[in-house]
């Protein structure tokens, strides 16, 4: 919807928005898409300025921004799955972070049992073992997600339970998965490749690691594939349709349970990919998924719930903001930055960047 439509929607009785009192006009104007884009740009500029004030080198800022885009790719992989589930099933899946962690650890298991040492491929630090690990992890986590749905969420759907019960159930599932991960792998930190060289080179004046380029390319490729899937295939369109209007989907004869099943599989697979990428970029911790949960939700909300492209855009914004903020802020506060952006979105324009008028 256009901005004019936004303004018209948010002003209550007035037929002409020019008839609104200045305060109401301001409020309505603040809720348009343009205003939100402006707010996001302002926040990013603000972060940049804060870093400048602290005398951070321009080149460092640039490299942070580039890393931010990469982090955005990782967050995005998780966020796309999360937004699809949120859109189709209408509840926030708090166990999504655990799915991310599970994917990372399954790949780790593959790498651990891989016979011999898998040599590094090209300029990257990983070998075929990681690729195979990821290819194995993705469908496994997808099936795990589907399994949880069959056992728990589907029953709640049949019982027509309230949102709260779904949220509670996903909280319980988050704990279940985390417990299993702790039991299987313990609480230590791990690396995919201990002590392996991580070559980096300079690209347009910025230090980047080959791994990071790979992560970025993979994230965008997967997102591109999903984009095609959702846009061109029948099941993909059915997913978008169900996310958009589940009652109408039923009316049109779409088998919503089958759509939901595929959505869970995709969501789990993407989460696993995100987990592997995140593990490669940093390290494997049992809490890694939970650390990403807040940024993922922030990306989903900013990009409009149910909209996968939006989730990626939101994720990149969050990623860049988080990374740039590390120039002057303790990196541990990354999720706090994501949180602030999320709350801003919720207060100004809860339907996100790509949603229609309220």
């Amino acid at each position: 919807m256009t901005d004019a439509a936004d303004i018209a929607e948010t002003s209550r009785a007035a037929t002409d928005w020019r008839e609104l009192r200045p305060a109401e006009r301001l409020k309505a104007a603040l809720q348009t898409r343009t205003a939100m884009v402006a707010a996001v740009i302002l926040v990013l500029l603000g972060l940049w300025l804060a870093a400048e004030v602290q005398d951070v080198a321009r080149s460092r800022l640039l490299s942070l921004a580039v890393w931010g885009v990469m982090l955005g790719g990782v967050i995005g992989l998780g966020a796309i799955g999360l937004t699809l589930i949120y859109g189709v099933l209408k509840f926030p899946n708090f166990s999504h972070g655990a799915l991310v962690t599970l994917g990372a650890y399954i790949a780790f298991a593959v790498v651990t049992v891989w016979p011999g040492q898998s040599p590094a491929l090209g300029p990257f630090s990983f070998g075929w073992d990681l690729i195979v690990g990821m290819i194995i992890a993705m469908p496994l986590v997808g099936l795990a997600a589907l399994g949880l749905d069959r056992v728990v969420y589907r029953r709640l759907r049949i019982q027509k339970s309230s949102l709260v019960l779904f949220a509670m159930a996903s909280l319980a599932m988050a704990f279940l998965l985390r417990s299993l991960i702790y039991l299987a792998w313990g609480s230590d930190f791990h690396f995919y490749y201990q002590g392996r060289a991580n070559p980096s080179f300079t690209l347009i004046g910025v230090q980047v690691q080959a791994d990071q380029i790979f992560i970025l390319v993979l994230a965008f490729t997967l997102v591109g594939l999903i984009y095609l899937l959702l846009g061109r295939t029948k099941m993909g369109k059915a997913m978008r349709a169900t996310a958009n209007n589940p009652e109408l989907a039923q009316v049109r004869g779409i088998n919503t349970e089958r759509v939901i099943a595929w959505t869970w599989i995709m969501s789990g697979a993407l989460a696993a990919a995100g987990g592997v990428m995140y593990g490669l970029a940093s390290q494997l911790r049992p809490e890694m998924g939970f650390w990403l949960l807040l940024p993922m939700f922030a990306a989903v909300i900013m990009g409009t719930i149910g909209n996968p492209r939006g989730a990626l855009v939101g994720a990149i914004i969050i990623g860049v903001a988080q990374q740039v903020s590390t120039a002057f802020l303790n990196p541990a506060y990354g999720p706090a930055v994501a949180f602030v952006l999320m709350v801003l979105t919720l207060l100004l324009r809860p339907q996100g960047l790509f949603g229609g008028g309220s």
């Binding site: 369109k237 059915a238 349709a241 209007n245 009316v251 004869g253 149910g306």
Partner: protein
């Protein structure tokens, strides 16, 4: 033997009874119109027929098969399609995608052919086939909604207040299309606020009030009936 038979159904929402002992029939190839004041239960009747609600008492049968307990996606397979009053298009999908979703239960075989037929009926949609349905005007959306329902080549089309919220010019177009669709053999069960127009188009009509049958008869007959006119047609 009627195509659709609603046999003395009683139903409602939660604890509240909305329809009491309501009966109606639609024969093949007919347009049947249901009118009545607000809150009479017209929409509820539609939902019950389409399986969005299940009757507490009584039965509904379609093509001689009991559909009282069936879900919408099963009923769609029997070739009965429903156009809801609101939220009747997928706003995030294009016009073309919306139509495709209408034919979801079919294999892709003659999808192109079916789309062409809908475009023939609604040429305006052909021009805008790649536009997001959410960005269209009310009248165009109604066309998309009806077109989606027609993709399955249904034997019975259920329309819930097709003219609601539309400009008069649009209302004419929509009603004209309904008649054309019916001329091709599709039976129509229509709930309408615009009582006069809908009775005029209909072969038969029912008047519901307070969740019960009040009048029934031929379309023109009801239109000219003085009592119906006084009570429900604004004199």
């Amino acid at each position: 033997m009627p195509l659709l038979k609603v046999d003395a159904i009683t139903c409602g929402y939660g604890d509240v009874e909305v329809l009491s002992d309501v009966s109606a029939e639609v024969n093949a190839g007919e347009i049947v119109s249901v009118i009545g004041p607000n809150g009479a239960g017209k929409s509820t009747l539609m939902k019950a027929v389409f399986g969005l609600l299940h009757p507490w008492k009584g039965a509904i049968s379609f093509k001689d098969q009991d559909i009282s307990r069936l879900e919408p996606y099963d009923i769609v397979k029997l070739r009965m399609c429903y156009v809801p009053q609101v939220a009747n298009v997928f706003t995030d999908l294009t016009v073309e995608d919306n139509l495709e979703m209408g034919a979801f239960v079919l294999s892709d075989g003659d999808m192109a052919e079916r789309k062409e037929r809908v475009f023939e009926l609604f040429p305006r949609l052909k021009e805008r086939r790649r536009q997001d349905a959410g960005k269209m005007s009310g009248g165009e959306r109604q066309m998309v909604a009806m077109g989606s329902a027609l993709m399955l080549d249904p034997e019975l089309l259920l329309l819930d207040e097709p003219s609601a919220g539309l400009a008069p010019k649009m209302v004419e177009v929509i009603f004209d299309r309904i008649v054309r669709v019916n001329e091709e053999g599709i039976a129509v069960l229509m709930v309408e606020q615009n009582a006069k127009q809908s009775l005029y188009m209909a072969h038969r009509g029912y008047v519901l009030a307070n969740g019960q049958n009040r009048f029934e008869g031929g379309g023109r007959e009801l239109l000219n009936d003085p009592e119906v006119g006084r009570l429900y047609l604004g004199g």
